[in-house]
């Protein structure tokens, strides 16, 4: 049975584990905090966060950093709920 891309247990790999310590960047802490705030408002629960992450196309999932996946999920879930209009965030970034 083919496993979904996020279902990594026993995924074939010999890759070594990069043990470099990475302090979270401010934007990563911010992204985490946003999810908590959205949860507090009843707009996004942890299961939706995970489901949003899992909905990423497989190669995008593998290339993305951990919090890039969270950002993708927030946008996906909020767009689904009509909290964000399609392209609204992109438009904001262009201004």
């Amino acid at each position: 049975m083919k496993q979904a891309v996020h279902d990594r247990g026993a995924w074939p790999t010999d890759a070594p584990i990069d043990r470099t310590e990475h302090e979270l960047a401010d934007w990563e802490v911010l992204t985490d905090a946003l999810v908590h705030s959205l949860a507090g408002e009843g707009l996004m629960n942890v299961d939706e966060l995970r489901r949003g992450i899992e909905s990423m196309p497989p190669d995008a999932y593998e290339r993305a950093s951990y919090y890039e996946r969270w950002l993708y999920s927030i946008e996906t879930i909020l767009a689904e709920k009509g909290v964000l209009a399609p392209g609204e965030l992109d438009a904001r970034l262009e201004t």
């Binding site: 279902d7 074939p12 790999t13 070594p16 959205l38 408002e41 950002l71 904001r92």
Partner: protein
């Protein structure tokens, strides 16, 4: 200012000057403007996150090492034990502590994402969230421990815990030799984040001979 040429390999730019950072900041602005979230609430959550470190987990373990009754309490109900010490066990409904012994060594992973007792240990290390760890902790845990420099004794049973649902796991590592004279605070200083995940042993006391 760093330069990123077009032939830059496709690695995500984690710094605060990259595209993801701009996106996160723009998202916050948008959500605050639309009154979807309150800026103060976001700040509070940021503050809570940065306040988390392995220190609270180490306090729990140190107390368990010196007090057998507390150790039993911790094994029975880690959330309640944390509250007993005035610690914040976090929003996770259930934290379960497991104990390494002469016979058994536990190692924790979340193969599906990155579930981790963050309130007690701080944010998970990057390697814990990495694809190779999530895969090999299950398929090659002994190899992973070797990479981390842990050699399990002869006949020690290795147990891997995959946090797939609402439970967060905390490992009580074994108390090092030569620590009988140390107080709780000194003991806590030996207890590392990685020892509470199960990929390291606590630090040996400074006075210990090889």
């Amino acid at each position: 200012m760093s330069e990123h040429g077009h032939d830059h390999p496709h690695e995500p730019i984690a710094g605060d000057d990259g595209p993801a950072a701009a996106r996160a900041r723009a998202l916050e602005e948008l959500l605050v403007e639309k009154d979807v979230v309150q800026r103060e609430d976001v700040r509070r959550n940021v503050d809570w996150l940065v306040s988390r470190s392995p220190a609270d987990g180490a306090r729990l373990v140190a107390r368990a090492w010196v007090d057998p009754v507390f150790r039993d309490r911790l094994l029975q109900d880690a959330r309640a034990a944390a509250l007993d010490l005035g610690l914040d066990p976090g929003p996770s409904p259930v934290v379960v502590a497991v104990e390494n012994t002469e016979q058994v060594h536990y190692m924790v992973v979340c193969t599906l994402c990155s579930c981790y007792p963050r309130a007690l240990l701080g944010p998970p290390p990057a390697w814990y969230k990495s694809l190779p760890y999530r895969s090999r902790a299950v398929s090659d845990p002994r190899g992973v421990l070797e990479e981390f420099g842990v050699e399990l004794g002869e006949g020690v049973e290795l147990r891997v815990l995959d946090s797939t649902a609402d439970i967060r796991y905390l490992v009580i590592p074994r108390r090092p030799e030569g620590t009988a004279d140390l107080g709780e605070e000194e003991l806590a200083a030996l207890i590392t984040r990685d020892s509470m995940i199960g990929v390291a042993e606590p630090v040996a006391p400074a006075s210990a001979t090889a």
